[in-house]
Amino acid sequence: MRRFVPMLLAALAVMSAGCEKKTQPASPDTDASKQSAQAPAGNTAATPPAPSDANTLLLGVATSLTGGQATFGISTRNGIELAVKQANEAGGVKDKKLAMRVYDTQGKPEEAAQAVTRLITQDKVLVVLGDVASSNSLAMAEKAQAAGVPMITPSSTNPTVTEKGDYIFRACFIDPFQGFVMAKFARENLKLSQVAVLQDNKSAYSIGLKDVFTRKFTEMGGKIATIESFSQGDTDYRAQLTAIKKSQPEAIYVPGYYSEVGVIARQAKELGLNVPLLGGDGWDSEKLYELGGSAIQGSYFTNHYSPDNPDPRIQKFVADYKAAYGAVPDALAALAYDAANMAIDALKKAPDTSGPALRDTIAKTKDFPGVGGAITLDEKRNPVKAAVVLKVGDGKSDYVTTVNP
């Protein structure tokens, strides 16, 4: 027995280490699991050196071109590049050409902080665009705020990012908004009256969505059948689903990530729960279709944008992006394109290009026509804009409708 005690202690140490490492990032946009892409070699050098003479307006971009979030970062850079190119073709801004300086954050907050410091102090950029992951954007926001340089994050959905200060803006809606949108969609479009909730107890993202969803859904006259929970990294949800089945819901709201949702869908079907699942942008991954198989088809989730949206502005963006990069732009590219256009718009309208002037101009953004919906910034510098609802099909998701706030 005496020998056993140190072994047990070691076991507990292993466990705690294991748990720590398993913790997934708190926002879907930080999710590292999208298939890592071929990152361009020497990504920093790949950017043409921007002349910083009096004829150029320099935009700074810090995003993850390598690492687990590389696909997200590359889409982001492409979206910004496209916006800059189009602005230059249209004659530039204030008789000057736009240029961009890109640094790779490798998906790490410390790299992001370093990149933004370089952009501000060395390259003297006018606006900072980035990053995808909320944790990186938080590190960057501090530096940008301290230096008085406006920063627009295209796709960090965590509410705390813009709370870092009045120089920080974003081009995407924040997490709780999706809960509201799904409640409205479930009640008005799907005419559901009784929905169960299966939330991730360890994720602020999931709990935030659940809170807003349940409040809004009950306010609109619906009934929450039951609220069950799981913990990130679980793979067996049968106990919760058995309890949910007993409550006889018409649908299950699962504000989680694709890695869990796919398995939940399969196990729900297995237990005879033939109802659709509802969710948020954490579902948006190729992996969803693989993990969920046929069980996930017919479920709905909220997202920032859909390339299938017939809106001519979106179709033009999709066509331009396809021509430039040979791929259908994902939500990250669309949001980055919007963020860059917000910055360019502010550069056009601002009386001069100093930090405070730009900040005031960006803050006044109203009804700005983005491909991810019209953007109007509220007093917390978050856009008030529409979300789309997608229906999961075979290997892809189809546009269903746009829900306005």
């Binding site: 027995m1 005496r2 020998r3 140190p6 072994m7 047990l8 070691a10 076991a11 140490a13 292993v14 466990m15 280490a17 294991g18 490492k21 398993k22 590292a32 699991s33 999208k34 298939q35 890592s36 687990g68 107890n201 069950e228 929970s229 799981f230 913990s231 990294g233 679980d234 793979t235 067996d236 049968r238 106990a239 919760q240 058995t242 309890a243 007993k246 890695s259 796919g262 398995v263 399969r266 196990q267 297995e270 237990l271 005879g272 992996k287 693989e290 993990l291 198989g293």
Partner: protein, 306 residues
């Protein structure tokens, strides 16, 4: 009532998997007094071997009986080989060193496997979770009421496999020459060696059996929960270890009983309370058992040899 019954079935199915993993822990501990923390990760590697085999066979052939047998055979043989290699190069050189050294090495191997498998180079699978192919066509084996209670064919199969392996293992340990050698090595490997028992070979074979058990358990787990990730071994391995300790580590039926208990308790905690409580309750039971019966439910507290 039907909910209770369904929970009971789900809990037994989960416990069965823990049982198979726990058997591997218990065997190695029984012989070497080493807690092989890499065991869960060996299981994970086994799952990926099965995954690769299933895809090599092609999607069409997955559901044939022969296909399933082949997947299990390849994964179990592959893991046996890996168990042999790990024992030969990581544990054997440390056999005469303090026991803690081997334990730390085991933890090192565990992390090397689980994080190494998250790299995305060459044949390594990368961090993203994957869906394990349906190698066994899921069939409802028993349905009560209007699908109030559903028992699946794979649940019954894994329970039968676990029981058969447990009986087989008991037979191996207590009725065969090899089992007698195992017990002798377990008692004192130096004296056993003096008596002409090839201790190194006995230990190597023990590792191979335990590793192939892990692969089998992992495949059943992957068939049950469909999602496979490089980190799955850490979690399942730890739970199985707890089960083995509850049952009395080194005790074969104890490991199975402990594992089934743990599976049931977890299921009921999640079903009737909340998933947040699951691990807390599991470890509370572990502490309680160790306080009341330090050797585990079935174990004996052996006097330290001086």
């Amino acid at each position: 009532m039907s909910q209770l019954l369904q929970h009971l079935i789900n809990g037994l199915a989960a416990g069965t998997i823990y049982a198979l993993v726990a058997l591997g822990y218990t065997m190695v501990y029984g012989v070497l007094k080493l807690i092989n923390f890499a065991h869960g990760d060996v299981m994970m590697v086994g799952v990926y071997m099965g995954y690769a085999t299933a895809f090599t066979l092609g999607r069409q052939n997955q559901k044939t009986f022969l296909g399933v047998v082949l997947i299990f055979l390849v994964a179990m043989a592959g893991c046996a080989l890996m168990g042999f290699i790990i024992e030969r190069f990581a544990y054997r050189p440390l056999r005469e060193k303090p026991r803690l050294t081997a334990l730390i090495t085991a933890i090192g191997i565990s992390f090397a496997l689980s994080y190494g498998f998250q790299l995305d180079i060459g044949f390594l699978p990368g961090a993203a979770p994957r869906a394990f192919p349906e190698v066994i066509r899921p069939n409802e084996w028993l349905i009560i009421g209007d699908r109030d209670v559903v028992v699946w064919n794979w649940q019954v199969m894994s329970l039968l496999i676990a029981v058969a392996l447990m009986v087989g293992l008991q037979y191996l340990v207590f009725k065969t020459r090899f089992g007698r050698a195992m017990r002798a090595v377990s008692y004192d490997h130096r004296v056993a060696a003096l008596m002409g028992i090839p201790t190194d070979r006995v230990i190597a074979v023990t590792f191979m059996i335990s590793s192939s058990l892990a692969a089998g358990a992992g495949l059943l787990y992957a068939i049950k929960d469909t999602s496979v990730t490089p980190l799955m071994g850490l979690y399942v391995g730890l739970k199985a270890f707890v089960a083995a300790v509850i049952g009395g580590i080194g005790h074969v039926p104890g490991a199975v009983v402990g594992a089934l208990m743990l599976g049931l308790v977890e299921e009921f905690v999640v079903g009737y309370a909340a998933s947040t409580w699951r691990d807390a309750v599991a470890f509370a039971i572990l502490i309680l058992v160790l306080l009341v019966k330090p050797g585990g439910l079935f174990g004996r507290v052996a006097a330290e040899k001086v």
